[in-house]
Symmetry: C2
Subunit: 357 residues, 2 copies
Amino acid sequence: MNEKPFVVIMAGGIGSRFWPHSMDAKPKQFLDVLGTGRSLLQMTYERFASFTSPERLMVVTQAKYSHLVKTQLPEIKEENILSEPLKRDTANCIAYASYKIRNTDPDAKVIVTPADHLILNESLFKARIFDALKAAEIPNHIVTIGIKPNRPETGYGYIQFIDGSDRVVKKVKTFIEKPNRELATTFLESGDYVWNSGIFVWKNESIIRAFELHLPELAEVFEEGKAYFFTESEGEFLKKAYSLVKNISIDYGVMEKSESVYMVLGDFHWADIGSWQKLYELQTQDGQGNVVEANALLYETNNCYIKVSPEKLVVVQGLDNYLVTDTGNVLLICKLDAEHKFREFTADAKSKKEDFV
Amino acid sequence: MNEKPFVVIMAGGIGSRFWPHSMDAKPKQFLDVLGTGRSLLQMTYERFASFTSPERLMVVTQAKYSHLVKTQLPEIKEENILSEPLKRDTANCIAYASYKIRNTDPDAKVIVTPADHLILNESLFKARIFDALKAAEIPNHIVTIGIKPNRPETGYGYIQFIDGSDRVVKKVKTFIEKPNRELATTFLESGDYVWNSGIFVWKNESIIRAFELHLPELAEVFEEGKAYFFTESEGEFLKKAYSLVKNISIDYGVMEKSESVYMVLGDFHWADIGSWQKLYELQTQDGQGNVVEANALLYETNNCYIKVSPEKLVVVQGLDNYLVTDTGNVLLICKLDAEHKFREFTADAKSKKEDFV
């Protein structure tokens, strides 16, 4: 038995709330949105590479993005780039990886992570992942990382935990969808709610058992993959499998139903870079609250995020709390908190011209 | 004596309130701002061409724009393109034209007009110009066209007239600079205030007499031009003349001082296309009050003017009463009524890069 865990990076999203920078042809996880010189996927890879060896590191993505993964992470073996034939939610994605891992090492422990998070204090982060790996040794235990909230954030899901005697590992009581401001404030004050990071740690057999219990149809479909994984027929099998299973998230399909979910409290600095607003908040704002990545002249303009290629001069007067960005093809001006509008923007833009999205 | 008047088109402005479309290299009078296929200068030329013959039509502009006049108005004789060596206000511009006309036809009548007005009801307009030409036959009479106001406009200068017995020609009492809203409302209600169109009609000797009376230094300098106009030395003379005279407008230098100013009431539809706001008002607005010259998707957006080349998709959400325009080099987002800010915009833009202005 290899003691090193598998790491599964989920990188299949389309990042529509980062449009027009995140495009269907190149979603946000493949972009250097923070200007670090590395894409979010590359930052995620580097964060987890020290936990394991490259042959135990998998990236699940949509088939159309597998070439991007290959280019950005040349260290990863081609068979470890799991290409989903359709865009599906996290339960499908995790099932695919889990049943494939079972073929290689049925006793493996697995860390599952989204590809679009920012994590600071990496040594604290590592310590908490090791705590989670330890907690996951108990059969059937599903372990997640909860992040101690520092504000009544309405953009994240929450986890309510039971504050037992174990200082490190807490039993999860319930998962809660993104709350409104009032509820988020109550959560923050109560102290037994944390942000749902979407990072999971388990023994591979524990999550497979959970699939069998809570999503038996899904389990049945992927169980049959055994004969196809790592063969030339894997792609064909997947097309069939993905057409059969329903689209469901791991939170909704497993976490909310399982009685064996535990949480390790993450005390590192964490952010889901899920929207322009989040990205804005992560950057250093100037004295007027503006984040300017542009050659810009601002007048009576506050709390704005201006991101335009420096060849263009941008002159903005009289805006408060707006995003202004231009990709060359698309100029977008909207309220910084307009993330709920992005599906509409991109759908309408697509109907104008496929290339715009 | 030739009965046809001279027409002098003043086209030397830089149109900074139309930036970034109006650029130092190509100011607004040379642009097709209304999308008619003709520049404002060409529209002005066509409006006045029927009053006279091409050899009696002059355009005064800055030397750096004379090639644009030549290209846009090939009908005009080269010696009738009056190239000013420096940007100077209207008194200088008119003095140059007047003293040059004196060399050709001292008895001429003259119509002076800006190059950036929109006039509808052209037959009414013609009738009023003929009224003015008739009124200008009286020696020393300076005649201007006043426009009946239809709203308490704060963007125009006003003329107060004395409502005498003559139905067509009124004596002017005073010229008033752009008023505030309250004053403009009083003007509108009183009925004896009209908009100052900047269109003048006079016998050439009448305005020269007025220069001698009210701007004697200016008169003295241009008087000397007699020996140089229509010769190779005209340019050299002008450089000297323009360096000697002070920069002053015809309104301030002559109109406000003269006792012989008369007004013909213009009952045609007139607009000074002096700003983005004015241009916006002239266009047909959609149901949300937007004027869209762009490939645009608008959400919760009202009373905006969106002008961007159609290759780019423009998505705007949550703006009210803004201008959004992009020339490729410059993206400008500002309040539609921010015309008082444009000098600052262009000065700051110029300090970034000369090309931006």
